[in-house]
């Protein structure tokens, strides 16, 4: 028997993963949630048919969206995480003793429930006493916050679905307002490769760059995302992602990682020429 999960990365490009078993399928109030068991990538979580994470390569994403800001700003104590209902981001953050509070705002309770059951390696730290989970709209949550967080991590789905509001100027402005004077916002910034993704990436970079004094982009290679090539945004009020990297302090933590290193940290901000050009185009 042949059973395949396929996702269109563009109308003309399709990425397929062989499936052993379809473990979970549910239409929540917001989206369709599916979990597959696959021979190559282990368990795969999809939302509305888009791959969110696979057991095989989630470490790349979750390490890169957390350790980069944590290695730059040594005073991060209070963190807001938006989306990330699978728990992978929280798992990485709870490894730091200095973290005092992690507020997680997830729109869809069903995602958290499904991941607790079927993706325990991601959801394993969701019950840490420092973690507070709020279900609801992130825009609504954040417009009530003022200078409350040192770090905001925006782990959203793509900008064409229910997460569209997390790629808007009003959202980035609210994040700025919710961060302390030396706060950092890191967001998943999509892929720069296919035309439609690239245009969305440029739009959100433009909005972030006009909101924060420091706005940089860094990259990682994630096999199951479009083009295997993914970007993150690093927006900051004070710290520069390369100049203020404290490699010694981070390495002294002796944290075992599989993708992130402080050497890779510097390299991740060195971008290919075509991407530099794309970013420059929208930076005033």
């Amino acid at each position: 028997m042949e059973m395949w999960f396929s996702e269109f990365h563009t109308p003309d490009v399709k990425h397929s993963i062989r499936v052993n078993r379809h473990l979970y399928s549910k239409q929540s109030d917001y989206q369709r949630i599916d979990i597959f068991e696959t021979p190559e990538f282990g368990r795969v979580l999809t939302l509305d048919g888009n791959v969110m994470l696979t057991e095989r390569d989630e470490f790349i994403y979750d390490e890169m969206i957390t350790h980069v800001p944590m290695a730059v700003h040594q005073g991060i104590k209070d963190i807001l995480v938006i989306g990330a209902g699978d728990g992978g981001v929280v798992r990485e953050l709870t490894r730091y003793d200095r973290v005092r509070r992690i507020d997680l705002v997830e729109m869809d309770p069903q995602v958290v429930e499904a991941c607790r059951t079927y993706l325990p390696s991601n959801a394993c730290r969701m019950d840490d006493r420092r973690v507070h989970i709020y279900f609801g709209n992130a825009l609504k949550f954040i417009r009530r916050c003022e200078e409350e967080y040192d770090l905001i991590i925006v782990d959203s789905t793509d900008p064409f679905g229910p997460s569209e509001g997390l790629f808007t100027r009003e959202f980035y402005g609210s994040c700025f307002n919710a961060l302390r004077e030396d706060g950092i916002m890191v967001n998943q910034q999509g892929s720069p490769f296919y035309a439609e993704d690239a245009a969305a990436m440029q739009r959100s970079h433009k909005r972030i760059a006009s909101t924060f004094p420091i706005s940089k982009v860094y990259q990682a290679h994630i096999p199951t995302y479009a083009a295997g090539y993914w970007l993150f945004g690093f927006a900051s009020k004070k710290y520069h992602p390369m100049d203020d990297l404290d490699s010694e302090a981070w390495n002294a933590l002796n944290m075992h990682t599989r993708y992130y290193t402080t050497r890779l940290h510097k390299g991740a901000f060195c971008l290919p020429a075509f991407l530099e050009e794309m970013l420059k185009e929208v930076e005033d």
């Binding site: 709209n137 825009l139 417009r143 569209e164 808007t168 959202f171 402005g173 609210s174 307002n177």
Partner: protein, 486 residues
């Protein structure tokens, strides 16, 4: 959903069904339109879609004729009348402007007086230019803080009726753009007691016919005619509208009036959209508008929690000039953060990619409807919070929108056709205007033909232009010059 009294079934949509049937027949077209189901205009077909251009067809026996409906269009009109509680309903394809004009032209002849509030849509005064009726304005009360015109007060209507006993009709703008309602039942009774018709411009009140807890609709209040913008809250295509009439109106005569100016090639896209939307409202309207009202109430609470803004609601009700309030409307007073409504309107579009219905001097209006979702509302509220944080300034020196009482010198028709000259706007004080001047939207005239240009009006126009309002209606697109009577 069959009405036991008349046997009409609201789950039917006769025009839509006839078009579906017609499509299946694969009739060969040797008639207009010349694009022949889109084949002759592939670019248009690619843009609008085959399904759309395929039903852009001409009147014919199986599809009836809007000028003289005898089959499916007539059935659709009967269903619409039943759904809206009217004696008769006319499908209109020239916008609610055509409904309003047909309403006025059906009731007034040259020289007749008609009682109406000055803050009517320009389509009403245009109708007076066409038929030569003379307006008797009831000046609306103005809310001083918000700078918006309110409804008609009962005693002012009574006074106008007493002073002009020969007037043929009272026209009520209900609700206003902002959702303000007059005491419609009382005004209908006063008009009828004086032997006058009561006409209602109900462009912003389609949902009143399908809501619970919403203000009374014109037909339920006993009005004789009402113009209903189905394409606003009703969900049909832009430019489609309904004209409703009560039991004392001769429908055949109204049809003749409509046919004076209406196209003989009524669009089946527009008519089918009216038919399908009426069905949707009849079957699901109550639930839908309940949700819309809930969303608007939620947004009001959230916007008021931001601080600085005032999203107003039912607390404005005073038993007379604000007899009722349409809770599906979301209007926000912005002056207290030091920004004119039009400035907030522009910032929302230019910086936040949010298009709202309009901004005037002191307020913005976001139009909520059956198509809205909570996540977009959160964006609107957050954007307003951000605008306050980034742009808030001292509010001194901000003008509120004053209602300027017009001095009517001649009837709109006389002024419109009289010999006129163009003068620089700055030198026009004291002259009699022969054209319209308005901010669009909302399209309510600052000056109408036949009215005196005063210093106060010129100051208002100058301020509105400075704040970025688009001024329309005048022959000179930049409104540096204005046409006045010789």
């Amino acid at each position: 959903m069959r009405n036991k009294r008349n046997g009409l079934d609201q789950s039917r949509a006769p025009i839509y069904e006839a078009l579906e049937n017609f499509r299946r027949m694969r009739v060969v077209p040797f008639d207009v339109p010349g694009h022949k189901r889109g084949r002759g205009n592939p670019e248009l077909t690619a843009f609008l879609g085959q399904a759309c251009v395929g039903v852009d067809v001409n009147s014919m026996k199986p599809l009836d004729n809007l000028c003289h409906p005898v089959s499916v269009i007539r059935e659709a009109e009967e269903l619409a009348a039943d759904a809206f509680g009217a004696a008769h309903a006319f499908l209109m394809v020239g916008g609610t402007t055509s409904s309003v004009q047909s309403m006025v032209l059906s009731s007034c002849k040259r020289g007749d007086e008609i009682i109406l509030p000055r803050n009517v849509h320009k389509s009403v005064i245009n109708a007076l230019v066409l038929c030569g009726a003379v307006p008797v304005y009831v000046n609306p009360e103005v809310d001083q803080r918000l700078g918006i015109s309110l409804g008609m007060k009962r005693e002012q209507v009574a006074k106008a009726i007493a002073e002009h006993p020969k007037a043929v009709a009272v026209l009520v703008n209900n609700p206003t753009y902002y959702g303000i309602c007059s005491d419609l039942r009382a005004i209908v009774k006063m008009a009828h007691d004086a032997g006058m018709l009561c006409l209602v411009d109900e462009a912003h009140g389609t949902h009143f016919y399908f809501g619970s807890g919403l203000p009374v609709s014109a037909m339920e209040a006993g009005a004789d005619m009402a113009s209903v913008s189905m394409h606003k809250s009703g969900g049909s295509l832009t430019q489609s509208s309904l004209l409703l009439t009560g039991p004392n109106i001769h429908a055949g005569y109204v049809r003749q009036i409509i046919n004076l100016t209406q196209t003989t090639s009524g669009s089946y896209l527009l008519m089918s959209s009216l038919d399908i939307s009426r069905r949707n409202l009849a079957l699901r309207g109550r639930k839908v508008f309940h949700q819309v009202a809930d969303m608007a109430e939620y947004a009001r609470r959230e916007i008021n929690a931001v601080g600085g803004y005032y999203a107003f609601g039912r607390e404005l009700m005073n038993g007379n000039s604000v007899f009722d309030f349409d809770t599906t409307k979301l209007s926000v007073h912005t002056l207290d953060i030091g920004l004119a409504g039009i400035e907030v309107y522009d910032i929302l579009r230019d910086e936040y990619d949010i298009q709202i219905e309009f901004g005037d001097i002191g307020n913005i209006l976001a139009y909520l409807s059956m198509g809205d979702r909570p996540q977009e509302l959160e964006r609107l509220v957050s954007a307003l919070a951000e605008i306050r944080r980034r742009y808030q300034k001292d509010a001194t020196g901000m003008l509120t929108q004053e209602y300027i009482e017009p001095e009517v010198v001649t009837s709109p028709q006389e002024a419109f056709y009289a010999p006129k000259i163009s003068v620089p706007l700055a030198e026009s004080e004291g002259r009699v205007c022969s054209e319209f001047v308005m901010c669009y939207p909302p399209g309510i005239p600052i000056l109408a033909p036949g009215e005196r240009i005063t210093g106060e009006i010129l100051e208002h126009i100058g301020y509105a232009k400075e704040k970025g309002c688009s001024m329309t209606g005048s022959e000179d697109p930049d409104l540096t010059r204005i046409n006045v009577l010789e």
